[in-house]
Amino acid sequence: MTTEIETLQDELLAEVAGVADLAALEASRVAALGKKGRITAQMKGLGKMDPDQRREAGAALNKVKDVVAEAIEARRLGLHEVELEARLATEGIDVTLPVRQQPQGRIHPVSQVMDEIAAIFADMSFTIAEGPDIEDDFHNFTALNIPPEHPARQMQDTFYLPQREDGMPMVLRTHTSPVQIRTMQDTPPPHRIVVPGRTYRSDSDQTHTPMFHQIEGLVIDRDIHMGHLKGTLEAFCQAFFEVDNVRFRFRPSYFPFTEPSAEVDIGCSYEGGNLRIGEGDDWLEILGCGMVNPRVLENCGLDASEWQGFAWGMGIDRIAMLKYGIPDLRAFFDSDLRWLHHYGFVPLDVPTMSGGLSR
């Protein structure tokens, strides 16, 4: 290679190395490799040479061209990195600022607990049955072995609506039990249902609201006894309260639609103002139950010598309060945003037996 070409390479490389930014680099590239660039000018001079000289100088010039092009590209990447770093340094944000809002609603505790109950009883082969809130006197009372003059009607403060044209008194159901009657009338045994729903009693004070929620259970088959009732309720309470052991006390009681009847107390303790279900020496009444009265079976057209079974009923609001430590029943129905946000459940927390009922 001639000294002239070597000098050219050295000069061009020095220029590339010396540029300050991408614009100057581009200028250097044009000055070296552009149409009017120095290497291009040298290339043009090759035509005047004889073949041997041309071959030698051409190879040398091509090499210079490659070396310079490579240097420019390396320099471009280097300058690019520097510029990027400089730009990034100016792009800071306050990562502590609150994110854009995606308001999240809440599921009411009554709905959540109903879903929990459905999950548990589905696992025990029950289905959910329902009935109307406005009931006729027959389904709410008479068919349940509560005739008009029965003292049990005085146990419940019933809301009445104007009576039907045929003289049938209409009531707001005082319990979910009329759905037992509708189920037994409409479908053949065996039965294994739970009935969640709104119920109404003319009662309003610290612990009573004129509307509340009940869950009713009914099992009718040929050989169902009170031991099954106890087993079912124990299994439910263990699952619902999410404890390994639950102590139970069955006390004889009276409901016209069951015979024998019992009220059930669940073991509990109060520690530092906190209620713990399942353990402890105290008792808490949680539900009423019994073996379905043969009169009720007969009222539904079932042969009481063939079919028997049990029924129970308990307050959904009440077990929600017990499980989640919610103090005031009346607040359930007040729709206070703060209460709903605090005691409500996020919508994706769907209770399942596989994933658990609550977190």
Binding site: D133, P210, G227, F250, P252, E259, M291
Partner: protein, 801 residues
């Protein structure tokens, strides 16, 4: 039902402790409500003798007393005006807690004099409000004796809850019988041997009923007494009545109250000098009035049973006696009534007249028909014992109807129904102890119910008797057999939509509420309800007197309440029932929600905007999507109910009739009437109107057919009449060439400068998807031309220049 331990022991011979007894009461179905045992509370208090009471040297109103406690002499500074030498009072040593005020007594020095205890007033003892001086005990009260014992306060008061079927336990004797059967001792015999009368009763009794009314009073047994001296009853009786919350009145009246509670047998005593014989039981006549013992006048009618003399009604049968013929301290001649009144009629009378009484409570639950005569004999003894005098022969009208209820009973049913093993021998003992008669052979018994068990109806009742006495604690928990190896769904498809709807709305930032099924009538009327058939006959208040025709009313009120608390931006929903008519089928399951205020809080990066009808529309669509309604087929029609803004609302329909949802702004007039600040937007989704998917044999989805060839977007701006709906443009565009046209979206609406008055510009973008080959420019132009033509044809639109 209240009674005291000593009262129980009149009937029950037992060594059981109070706790054993109260535990057993609960175990056999006589649930313990409360036991008040003051023995422990009052143990430190004893009878103290004031040896000397002298003036306190440094205080005018105080005295320094030396009290003999029986165990020594103690100095007490006392402020009571009646503290004096030689009296006996209630002494409390230092270290005692005073029941009336919870104060702990400490040794102290009051103005220079030591005081090491206290002499107590009635208020301090928690006995009454009396605080003018200290309690003065009888002179013969033994010094050092427990105060509780002296005052009869050592008799625990037991309160139990008696269920309506256990009317036999509305008398202490019945409770004792149950306890004896449950192994708590032995039932003592009742002395009801007849007391011989010494003369014929000058007052005769009659049953005077027209045909059909005989059951109102089936039996009337009476007895005359003379030479009586009425007055305060003996202390033991007064104490017992006071202990259970009754006010002692006079020996004769207290006797009837005592026997009501002792034997569950209500009685009545007339002042024989104030009645004109004979006395009869009859139906009242319409308009007859009666002044009862409670001092109130009652107007009677032909369905009410009365006991009357020849002039007027003197008692409402089974409910309450009369003021005019009641016994007083001056009574010397008395006529005792023991009658049997019909349970249903007594209940109806009591309800109609609004009278609660111990007699009504018992008669309406069923009084032992065989207790008429024994009740009279026990009462006779008490009267003669307390008031002296003599008694007549009894007079009787009618006969007590004492049915012998026989029930076929298979002892094996106890195991079959309860799941516990109780052998025949144990069952026989339990039933006999409860008074049941047993006949028949092993395995098949004929069980006769005792006369006091008017509730026994069938075999299940006998099973219950055996089980409750044998003990429910013997029931062994048994798992229900599983019906399938893995669990099947508990919810039907239609039931599953409700939780789904709830969670879909909560995900959209809405809060779930549960509001009353009722609402104020004046507001229900705003939502098409509040008609007579939907009003409660006995509402708890006028704010809750009508069944809700729509849930929006309650949600609007809830928004108002939250606004009052300073939370103006709300997004509330409820999924629940609303009521079309007052029949069991007149109820719909609805998801309803409303929003007010801004969609978000103020934020550094985005500006909150006021919610509008499109938010409500989106909410409604979200529910419909979530429950699987065919949203692509929905038609929008501006036919929303009257509670929505007339031109900012619509319904979503399938076909011409099936309304799936309504949405829009709430009519400002409604908000005005309800006094809640708006604007508000709301929706109602009629969940059950959405058709359920058809049952399918397989869960397979249809095959996905898509092309990898690039699709293209084309935008069009149409100028249309202002009234032209966006939906009609989109539908026309989509229908222009279904093979190639995919999504069509509205991306701009403009009216104003550059657009003729009464017109607007609607810009849409359409995605054109190729099928077999990439679309060429001429093909694209051809499709675009079809779109323009179709929209022009449907809406009269022209392309914006």
């Amino acid at each position: 039902m209240k009674f005291t331990l000593s009262w129980l022991k009149d009937h029950l011979d037992t060594d059981a402790t109070l706790v054993e007894i109260t535990d057993k009461l609960t175990a056999i179905g006589l649930e313990l409500e409360e036991v008040e045992d003051r023995t422990e509370d009052l143990a430190p208090f004893t009878v103290g003798y004031v040896v000397e009471a002298k003036q306190h040297p440094n205080a005018d109103r105080l005295r320094v007393c030396i009290v003999d406690t029986g165990e020594g002499q103690i100095q007490v500074v006392c402020g009571a005006p009646n503290a004096r030498t030689g009296m006996k009072g209630v002494f409390a040593p230092s270290g005692t807690t005073i029941p009336g005020n919870g104060m702990l007594l400490k040794p102290s020095n009051i103005r220079g004099e030591d005081s090491n205890g206290m002499l107590c007033s009635e208020r301090e003892m928690g006995l009454s409000d009396e605080h003018d001086g200290i309690i003065e005990l009888a002179e013969d009260a033994p010094v050092g004796a427990p105060f509780a014992q002296i005052m009869g306060l050592d008799d625990p008061v037991i309160d139990i809850n008696v269920t309506p079927n256990k009317q036999d336990c509305l008398g202490v004797r019945g409770i004792a019988r149950d306890l004896a059967a449950a192994g708590m001792g032995t039932l003592k015999p009742l002395d009801a041997t007849p007391v011989e009368g010494s003369y014929d009763s000058p007052v005769d009794v009659e049953l005077n009923f027209e045909a059909g009314y005989e059951a109102a009073c089936s039996c009337f047994l009476g007895r005359h007494f003379r030479g009586l001296k009425n007055g305060p009853s003996p202390e033991w009786l007064r104490r017992r009545l006071t202990a259970i919350g009754l006010r002692p009145i006079s020996a004769l009246v207290d006797m009837t109250n005592f026997i009501t509670y002792d034997l569950g047998r209500p009685l009545h005593v007339f002042d024989a000098g104030k009645v004109t014989a004979p006395i009869q039981a009859r139906m009242a006549t319409a308009g007859e009035t009666f002044l009862a013992l409670d001092g109130k006048d009652y107007e009677l009618d032909g369905e009410i049973t009365v006991i009357a003399d020849q002039k007027a009604a003197e008692a409402i049968g089974g409910v309450m006696g009369g003021e005019a013929s009641g016994c007083t301290d001056e009574t010397t001649e008395m006529f005792l009534e023991a009658a049997l009144f019909d349970a249903h009629r007594t209940a109806a009378t009591g309800r109609r007249l609004g009278i609660e009484s111990d007699a009504r409570y018992r008669f309406e639950r069923g009084v032992d028909p065989a207790m008429v005569r024994p009740g009279v004999e026990v009462a006779t003894r008490m009267v003669l014992e307390m008031c002296g005098g003599e008694t007549s022969h009894t007079v009787l009208a009618g006969t007590p109807d004492v049915p012998a209820k026989v029930v076929a009973f298979r002892p094996a049913r106890v195991t079959e129904l309860i799941g516990i093993d109780v052998d025949e021998e144990e069952q026989r003992k339990i039933l006999s102890d409860l008074g049941f008669g047993i006949a028949g052979k092993s395995g098949n018994w004929q069980v006769t119910a005792p006369t006091w068990r008017t509730d026994i109806d069938g075999e299940a009742d006998i099973v219950e008797e055996v089980a409750r006495i044998a003990g429910f604690d013997r029931i062994v928990s048994t798992p229900l057999p599983r019906l399938s190896v893995t669990a099947k769904p508990a919810l039907t498809l239609s039931q599953r939509r409700r939780p789904t709807a709830k969670r879909a709305l909560a995900v959209r930032g809405m809060m779930e509420c549960v509001t009353w099924s009722f609402m104020p009538r004046r507001f229900a009327e705003l939502f098409g309800g509040g008609t007579e058939d939907m009003l409660l006959a006995n509402p708890i208040s006028s704010e809750l007197d009508a069944m809700r025709p729509s849930m929006l009313g309650n949600l609007i009120l809830a928004a108002g309440r939250n606004g009052d608390r300073g939370f103006d931006d709300v997004a509330l929903f409820e999924v629940g029932p609303q009521f079309r008519d007052a029949t069991p089928k007149g109820q719909d399951f609805v998801a309803a929600g409303l929003r007010r205020g801004r969609d978000n809080r103020r934020h550094w990066a985005e500006t909150p905007r006021p919610v509008d009808a499109y938010d409500a529309k989106a909410d409604a669509l979200a529910v419909l999507e979530a429950i699987g309604a065919p949203t692509a087929s929905i038609q929008i029609a501006t036919e929303a109910p009257g509670w929505y803004h007339p031109v900012r609302s619509a319904v979503m329909r399938l076909g011409p009739k099936n309304v799936l949802a309504a949405f829009g702004e709430i009519h400002p007039r409604i908000l005005d009437r309800m006094d809640v600040t708006g604007p508000m937007v709301a929706f109602e989704v009629f969940i059950d109107n959405a058709p359920l998917p058809k049952a399918k044999a397989t869960r397979n989805r249809a095959e996905l057919l898509v092309s990898d060839l690039p699709s293209v977007q084309r935008d069009f701006a149409f100028v249309v009449d202002e009234a032209t709906t966006a939906d009609s443009i989109v539908r026309a565009a989509k229908g222009a060439d279904k093979a190639f046209i995919g999504d069509v979206n509205v991306f701009d609406i403009y009216a104003g400068k550059g657009i003729e008055d009464g017109k607007k510009s609607v810009a849409i973008t359409a995605r054109l998807a190729p099928k077999d080959a990439t679309l060429t420019d001429p093909e694209i132009e051809a499709i675009a031309a079809k779109i323009v033509a179709a929209v022009a044809k449907a809406t009269g639109a022209v392309l914006r220049g």
